[in-house]
């Protein structure tokens, strides 16, 4: 699969070309200083292909914050039910970063195991991912510590590597190849220099995070982690879960308004107080520290026990956004400490 080159000047054009037959999603910046958002083009704001994590992770294009699974309308005593229609067109995502792409593979393990989640599967199968080689965004980035290659993202159908005033575009899969073909009219052959720069790219993503080698059962250790201390500065705001690329819990709500209604699937999180509350009103995780422990141990211990990998891609969103400045890295550190004290 040969490498092609996309000039920055032709980016908009490229999006338009893809838009002819595909729904195109790309990082869009609404106003300066904003974190980009992955939005369906055309969208208000400029498409910015930069190594900046979108506010809401790529996951949301496959498991949206809230979506209708079916709708029901009551008419003269009759109730009419309509299932969610299939995607109208195939989709392509431009500029996804390695961390978010790697996260999809983690969620796949849950969503695609038998019986697979039809919505997730359809969107995964019908979405091509053109990711952007990432030099590492900020101090909280540590994807390199958890086996993610920020420059050659696993699971991407093609990769854009910044070089000169544009990007080197290399396909990695059939799907990616088809995208490159579709784009031929706006692409050109790269110069040797451009190939050189792209190949020479390096990433600042840390490799020394305590998250490295964290993927195992922590059962005998976790009791000794000072969860209370974490809880003491946790506001329970749940922003960590809202921004996490691997969180995938959802709830099903039947929402009736007047005579119409819909069955909604919406994100839910174990960071929320109501999450574990039962119909009886009992709540095994009424305490904040219990919820924090659940959330982090699910990623670092339970998920690892079940699937052999931790449910964290080191994107650092939780650490960067937490009002209490706590992140999953710190929890991993505390686990390691607890283990050290232990033996």
């Amino acid at each position: 699969m040969t490498a092609r080159y996309l000039d920055r000047a032709r980016l908009a054009e490229a999006c338009a070309v893809l838009g002819r037959n595909l729904d195109v999603f790309a990082p869009v910046q609404r106003r300066p200083g904003d974190p980009p958002r992955l939005e369906l083009l055309p969208a208000a704001g400029n498409v910015t292909l930069a190594p900046r994590k979108p506010l809401v992770p790529l996951k949301a294009l496959f498991l949206p914050d809230c979506e209708e699974i079916m709708t029901f309308r009551r008419r003269g005593g009759e109730t009419v039910v309509t299932e969610r229609p299939a995607l109208a067109r195939d989709r392509v995502v431009l500029g996804a970063l390695a961390c978010d792409v790697a996260a999809l593979a983690l969620v796949d393990r849950v969503m695609l195991q038998d019986p697979p989640d039809p919505t997730w599967r359809e969107r995964r199968e019908r979405t091509a991912i053109i990711s952007l080689a990432c030099a590492g965004e900020d101090e909280t980035c540590c994807c390199a510590s958890v086996g993610v290659d920020p420059l050659r993202p696993n699971g991407a159908d093609a990769v854009l590597s910044p070089a000169g005033d544009g990007w080197l575009l290399e396909s990695a899969t059939e799907k990616g190849e088809r995208i490159v073909d579709a784009l031929q009219e706006v692409l050109r052959a790269p110069s040797a220099a451009e190939i050189g720069t792209a190949r020479a790219l390096t990433s600042s993503s840390r490799k020394d995070s305590p998250l490295a080698g964290c993927d195992r059962a922590w059962a005998e250790v976790w009791e000794r982690v000072p969860w209370q201390g974490l809880a003491a500065r946790c506001l329970g705001c749940g922003v960590c879960a809202a921004l996490c690329p691997t969180c995938h819990c959802f709830e099903i709500q039947d929402e009736r308004r007047g005579n119409d209604g819909a069955r909604l699937r919406a994100w839910d999180t174990c960071a929320a107080k109501q999450y574990a509350r039962m119909a009886s009103g009992e709540n095994p995780r009424a305490k904040l520290e219990a919820r924090i422990r659940q959330r982090f141990l699910h990623k670092l211990s339970y998920f690892a026990e079940r699937y052999g990998v931790i449910a964290c891609v080191g994107c650092g969103r939780c650490a960067a956004q937490c009002p209490g400045a706590t992140g999953i890295e710190e929890v991993a550190r505390l686990l390691a400490l607890a283990e050290a004290d232990h033996g």
């Binding site: 009551r74 008419r75 003269g76 005593g77 308004r257 007047g258 005579n259 119409d260 009103g281």
Partner: protein, 566 residues
């Protein structure tokens, strides 16, 4: 309760509704609504036929919610609720939809629009009905004993009226004798009879009943509880007393304002208040020489803006008497303007002038001055009409001050949770419609405690308050509105917003077993206005019959319920 089964009864009201709204169409529409198991229309749903049909269908179709779409709940709700009750359904599982006053009568020329609106209204009613819950009205036993605070004319009249009806009464008077302000008076208008004589009649009547326990030199120390069961604690030299009463009448009266710092009162010999003059007159002294009365002393001025109402009449009465008993004496009344209401007082005013009392107007901007060193010599005043100062010789100056509220009325108002007005007088529930009642059930007011009243008013108000107080004591119990507020302790943060806005002191926040603050509502005291429910940020406090969910459901039913776009 099991599955919700709503029955809808739409009324033609002859042609009142049916003449505009296409009732059968509305019924057909109602049949299609969620949870509706049965719908019909009646020529007159309120007729025997209609009511019988409601009861019959409740049984036939196992209906557990009833919606009647007809006229206004203000006239017919009770009727339909009773019908539900007779069919074994809790009366609060009924919802009223107004298709007449609120639809057919106000859209008479628009049958289509009126019919569409009727569908909306019925749909909203059904939406709420589906969420109705059975309620029970709280009942509270009423102790047939009353506490009357104040042994003046109003208090005596109230105590007497209650006692004559066979109720036991505790009459509390803080001085050492009954009669209040009146006994220090000399003669009373209208009719000009000795005050003592009139008060004596009231006192004898009270004692004759044998039902009144009189507590002299006694004050109310604490009151708790609510209508039917107030716990009262009294304090007196012979020790404290505690007992329970069903109702309370406040008849604490008022006091003559002491004109401290005004017109050299208590500084010059011969300057006295009306009350001091009345005492002197009672003691038999009749001749005083030249006299000047100064009206509105300490009244209708910044800080005490009200008119004492009665003071003018008092001055008129006493001025005339001084003139008649000493025709050579010059008697002058300095006034800002004369308030002699009613035929009698106006008559007294005329008689006084005929007797030779002079009435001179002064202006509040130039107050009269007293001339004299050790004792009064004269009064200098700017004569309004002549526009120059005149000096009126005088041996005595009588200051006409208004009645004022007792300094300590605040304590009692806090104890009883009833309000005072800006001048410290007690404030009734509604100045026109509920003149002797407080918003707080079981507590009433009579006489000058409310506002300066002459003896005739004091007595009639006392009797009125007694009549109001007697009602719940005859009934033996109070049945309170069931649509009261209720707190869900698990959802409550104890922030106290509910407590802050309750006008009746029905909501209190207290620590629970875990030491957390939690609000709770006393259903007997609660009047079901719902102010607390609206103040509660998280919906922990709900007004039964008007819950957050019921109201929101109606809103959404209107917003989203339409079959066709509006």
């Amino acid at each position: 309760m099991g599955k919700v089964r709503v029955g809808v009864f739409v009324c033609h009201c002859g042609s009142n509704i049916g003449g505009t709204v296409r009732v059968p169409e509305v019924v057909e529409y109602a049949r299609g609504l969620p949870a509706v198991r049965y719908a019909e229309h009646n020529l007159y749903t309120c007729s025997d036929a209609g009511l019988t049909s409601i009861k019959k269908k409740i049984a036939e179709h196992g209906l557990n919610r009833v919606v009647v779409a007809s006229c206004t709940p203000r006239t017919h709700e009770e009727l339909f609720r009773r019908a539900c009750e007779e069919a074994g359904l809790n009366r609060y599982l009924f919802e009223f939809v107004n298709l007449r006053e609120h639809c057919s009568w106000i859209h008479m020329r628009e049958p289509d629009a009126a019919t569409a609106k009727a569908k909306d209204l019925v749909r909203m009613g059904v939406a709420k009905a589906a969420l109705l819950e059975p309620l029970e009205a709280a009942r509270a036993k009423v102790t047939p004993v009353s506490l009357v605070i104040g042994g003046g004319a109003a208090g005596l009249a109230a105590a007497g009226a209650l006692a004559q009806q066979g109720f036991r009464v505790h009459l509390v008077e803080r001085s050492d004798r009954l009669g209040g302000l009146a006994i220090s008076l000399w003669r009373l208008l209208p009719g000009d009879r000795p005050a003592a004589e009139i008060v004596g009649v009231l006192e004898r009547e009270v004692k004759a009943t044998g039902n009144v326990q009189i507590h002299l030199r006694t004050v109310v120390e604490d009151v708790s509880g609510f209508v039917g069961a107030f716990k009262v604690r009294l304090a007196s030299p012979d020790g404290p007393a505690e007992f329970e009463v069903g109702t309370i009448i406040v008849a604490t009266g008022a006091r003559e304002l002491e004109p401290l710092g005004l017109y050299r009162w208590r500084e010059l010999e011969g300057v006295m208040t009306q009350l001091e003059l009345e005492r002197a007159l009672s003691s038999g002294r009749t001749r005083y020489g030249d006299a000047v009365f100064i009206n509105c002393a300490g009244a209708r001025e910044p800080g005490r803006t009200y008119c004492g109402r009665l003071c003018c009449a008092v001055a008129i009465k006493n001025a005339r008497y001084l003139k008649e008993s000493d025709p050579d004496a010059r008697v002058t009344v300095l006034q800002r303007d004369v308030m002699a209401f009613g035929a009698e007082f106006e008559g007294e005013y005329r008689r006084a002038m005929e007797a030779g009392v002079r009435f001179v107007r002064y202006s509040p901007s130039l107050l009269p001055e007293i001339v004299g060193d050790a004792s009064v010599k004269a009064v200098r005043v700017r004569h309004d009409l002549m526009g120059r100062d005149i000096e009126i010789p005088a041996q005595i100056v009588v200051l006409t001050t208004p009645l004022a509220s007792h300094a300590d009325s605040g304590e009692l108002s806090r104890m009883l949770k009833v309000p005072l007005d800006a001048d410290g007088f007690f404030l009734e529930a509604h100045m026109k419609l509920r003149p002797v009642e407080f918003a707080t059930d079981g507590v009433f007011v009579a006489g000058a405690a409310r506002f300066p009243a002459d003896i005739r008013e004091a007595v009639s108000q006392g009797i009125a308050a007694a009549a109001k107080a007697a009602a719940p004591m005859y009934a033996g119990e109070v049945i309170v509105e069931a649509t009261t507020a209720r707190t869900d302790p698990r959802a409550c943060s104890g922030c106290g917003s509910c407590e802050a806005v309750c006008p009746f002191g029905a909501v209190t926040v207290a620590q629970d077993a875990k030491g957390r603050p939690v609000s709770s509502v006393n259903a007997v005291v609660c009047k079901g206005c719902g102010a607390c429910a609206a103040a509660c940020p998280c919906g922990a406090v709900q007004q039964q019959g008007f819950t957050e969910q019921q109201i929101l459901e109606m809103v959404e039913s209107l917003a989203f319920g339409r079959e066709e776009a509006p």
